[in-house]
């Protein structure tokens, strides 16, 4: 039934009350994300920050926003060990991929 808002246990064993509580959390996170977006634009662009500082601030704020999206929207904070394992492995290789070519430019013969 399309209009049925049932009070049976939805899947994952969550009760309707718990789900509604989660929905409130999502809205709060939305607020935080909007705030952080405004903050990062103001800090880097509004204040015309020099590149080194801008990179640092931007990455810190982006990291925070990313943590919120991944942790709450994607439920990574309560995810299973297997997923954590795959992601940790991925993040490690991601780091290697970011480091390798860049380091080459910094460590070349004749420089």
């Amino acid at each position: 039934m399309d209009h049925d808002v049932t009070h049976e246990h939805a899947h994952h064993g969550h009760t309707p009350e718990e789900i509604r509580k989660e929905m409130r959390v999502y809205l709060i996170i939305f607020g935080a994300l909007a705030l952080l977006t405004g903050l990062t634009v103001w800090a880097c662009y509004g204040l015309q920050m020099p590149p080194h500082k801008a990179i640092l601030i931007a990455l810190l704020i982006a990291g925070t926003k990313g943590f919120l999206v991944a942790g709450f929207f994607m439920h990574l904070l309560n995810e299973k060990k297997l997923i954590y394992g795959v992601l940790i492995l991925t993040v490690f290789f991601f780091g290697v991929l970011l480091w390798g070519p860049w380091h080459h430019v910094y460590d070349m013969f004749g420089k």
């Binding site: 297997l82 492995l89 991925t90 290789f93 290697v96 991929l97 390798g100 070519p101 380091h103 080459h104 430019v105 910094y106 460590d107 070349m108 013969f109 004749g110 420089k111």
Partner: protein, 636 residues
């Protein structure tokens, strides 16, 4: 007092030999009924059953058939190259198949040689070996071996195959475009590849399709292996084949995307005028290129090799998996060092991501970064040695059956040994200065892939053919195929080490004849190697005939009675012979009670215990009642 084996069927204990006999009879009856359905069309329409099937067995056969065709094509390109290398500048009638543009009067042009070289490598690796090893064997055997009804995502599986085919067709189409096909090596280094003719664009587009196919497949394999394994099949009860496929899938999943990105970047350089890989002030044919510049050719190399190194482990790991199954089966004893094998393959997979720049030692990398990659490369040789040693030691004390799959498997061991050992000097930055881009490298990697992986794949074909078709391939012609191939393949690749050490560069259209330091060794070895190459081609003829003849007979119902002709323990052999397509794999999903290699157990030294069989030993009843206590009883 003799002991008779009993197995549990439902809630009864039956004598094993009687039970198996009844089971085989039931299978035979069922096969006939299924064949009736197949021939009389009471099932899905043909295009849903054979063309757009979601059954992993059909998809596996599709991959296998397509890949074998591409292997033959890639091999044929090599024959043309070897004719040129053996007798440079000589006119060959066979060469005329390339057309007047590439081989006027039957004499191969240098530019055309480059096309053959680039496409031989590309086709063999991406259209031949990997689709056969992962797409064919992985798809067909893995779900059977873990007791699953199919892959986790059957439709995705179908999509993978139907991404592979367009990718292959685009690669083939590239031969027909003006300027010919890709000719910048399978490695497509810029700036050459960026300024190359139209065929290179086709190569890049084809790669995008092939990479997508691999990515979809790898997700499917990982989920299937970990989620759909049968009850009782713990990770340490996996046949090693499954471990190999699992690690391979992780390599494909995480290493391929950077190449996809790089292909996009190169496409942008070629089509949108960007300069990702084009340095400022690049001079082409005497003119400075009018592009923005600021790019770095080395960026391509990093992104390419980030994939291409794990790719070589994608080439070898499934092969090791196949060999392991065949060795355990034909020595009639468990593999030695199963835990070491598992640890080694996991460690190998991990390390494969951090060694890639050993392909780039000569790009001007500094000492720190070179030392890093040299170290990781040396470290990665350790798990390889552990795996090879375990397989060698597994032979010790075995009751070896020298059938055709076992011959190929036995040959794999020293051949991979040679390939692996010759890789060591290449991994050392200082030695690599002398050996990089020489025939030594070609000898090294061909030893690993050709008498290594391809022999393993052939072993797999001979081994699993009864499962695919219900018939064994002919043993005599199998042995002829093996010995002829083994001798010829060594004749082709062994002299390459000498050539490389003497300084003969790779990718020379005349094999080195124009260089003073190379021409003597080139002249003395190349013709011999080319003769061996032709010999190797001829050696495949008995195999091709054997294959089609027995496949045809199998399709017509002339099958062997035994659904487990190799007396194997793994679950794939518990499924019926030539499992009915599209109807799941097992009448009853098996439950696993034991490890994968219980050959010649102490209580039954001439026998074996399949993984899904719980059993106990009971004394032969001598009048009177059976003793109540079982001698040995195994639970999950």
């Amino acid at each position: 007092m003799g002991l008779r084996r009993q197995i549990r069927v439902g809630n009864q204990w039956l004598y094993a030999d009687e039970a198996f006999k009844a089971l085989r009879e039931a299978e035979r009856v069922m096969r006939e009924e299924d064949r009736h359905k197949l021939l009389h069309g009471h099932v899905l329409p043909w295009y849903r059953r054979w063309l757009f099937s979601t059954d992993h067995k059909v998809i596996g056969l599709q991959y296998g058939f397509t890949a074998l065709l591409f292997l033959l094509l890639g091999f044929s390109l090599m024959i043309l190259m070897r004719l040129q290398l053996g007798w440079p500048g000589h006119a060959f009638d066979l060469m005329k198949v390339l057309g007047e543009g590439r081989a006027p009067g039957g004499v191969l042009l240098p530019e055309a040689y480059n096309q053959l070289g680039a496409m031989h490598g590309t086709i063999m690796i991406f259209l031949g070996v990997v689709p056969l090893a992962v797409g064919a064997f992985g798809n067909y055997v893995t779900p059977l071996m873990i007791g699953a009804p199919d892959m986790a995502f059957p439709k995705l599986n179908m999509a993978s195959y139907w991404c592979y085919v367009p990718g292959g067709l685009i690669m083939l189409a590239s031969f027909a475009v003006p300027g010919g096909t890709a000719n910048s090596g399978w490695t497509s280094y810029p700036p050459l590849s960026v300024i190359a003719t139209q065929g290179q664009t086709f190569w890049l587009l084809g790669m995008v399709f092939l990479i997508t196919s691999s990515l979809l497949g790898s997700v499917n394999f990982i989920v299937t292996i970990l989620q759909l394994r049968a009850k009782g099949l713990t990770l340490m009860r996996f046949p090693f084949f499954v471990w190999a496929q699992l690690v391979t899938s992780f390599l494909l999943l995480l290493a391929f995307p950077p190449l996809e990105a790089a292909a996009v970047l190169q496409l942008m350089d070629r089509l949108a005028g960007t300069s990702f890989f084009l340095p400022t002030g690049l001079v082409v044919s005497g003119q400075i290129l009018q592009n923005a510049g600021g790019g770095n050719p080395v960026l391509w190399q990093h992104l390419f090799w980030f994939l291409a190194h794990p790719e070589v482990y994608v080439l070898i790991l499934p092969a090791m998996g196949i060999i392991s199954e065949i060795i355990a089966n034909n020595t009639r004893k468990p593999l030695w060092g199963y835990r070491s094998l598992v640890g080694a393959v996991i460690f190998l997979g991990f390390m494969s991501f951090v060694v890639w720049a050993h392909h780039m030692f000569l790009t001007g990398m500094g000492t720190t970064i070179s030392a890093f990659f040299q170290t990781t490369t040396m470290i990665i040789s350790i798990p390889s040695v552990i795996i090879l040693s375990s397989l060698f030691i597994s032979l010790w004390g075995g009751s070896i059956r020298f059938n055709t799959p076992m011959l190929f498997a036995l040959a794999f061991l020293p051949m991979f040994g040679i390939g692996g050992l010759t890789g060591l000097p290449l991994g050392l930055a200082s030695a690599d200065i002398h050996l990089h881009d020489t025939y030594y490298v070609i000898g090294h990697f061909h030893y690993v892939v050709a008498p290594g992986t391809i022999f393993a794949l052939l072993a797999g074909v001979y081994f699993w053919f009864p499962k695919f078709t219900g018939r064994k391939l002919n043993e005599f012609w199998g042995k002829v195929h093996f010995w002829a191939s083994f001798i010829c393949i060594n004749g082709i690749f062994m002299p390459m080490f000498a050539q490389g050490l003497a300084g003969v560069s790779r990718r020379l259209y005349d094999g080195g004849q124009q260089y003073a330091h190379a021409k003597d060794i080139a002249a003395s070895t190349n013709p011999f190697m080319s003769v061996c190459a032709v010999g190797l081609l001829i050696a495949q003829v008995p195999f091709i005939i054997n294959f089609f003849y027995n496949a045809f007979l199998g399709l017509r119902g002339r099958v062997n009675e035994d659904s487990n002709p190799w007396q194997a323990t793994t679950l794939d052999w518990a499924a019926t012979t030539s499992p009915p397509l599209g109807h799941g794999n097992f009448e009853v999903i098996p439950v696993v009670y034991r490890g994968p290699y219980e050959y010649s157990p102490p209580e039954d030294p001439d026998g074996y215990i399949p993984q899904h069989v719980p059993e106990r030993l009971v004394p032969e009843p001598v009048g009177g009642t059976l003793p109540t206590a079982a001698v040995a009883q195994r639970e999950i």
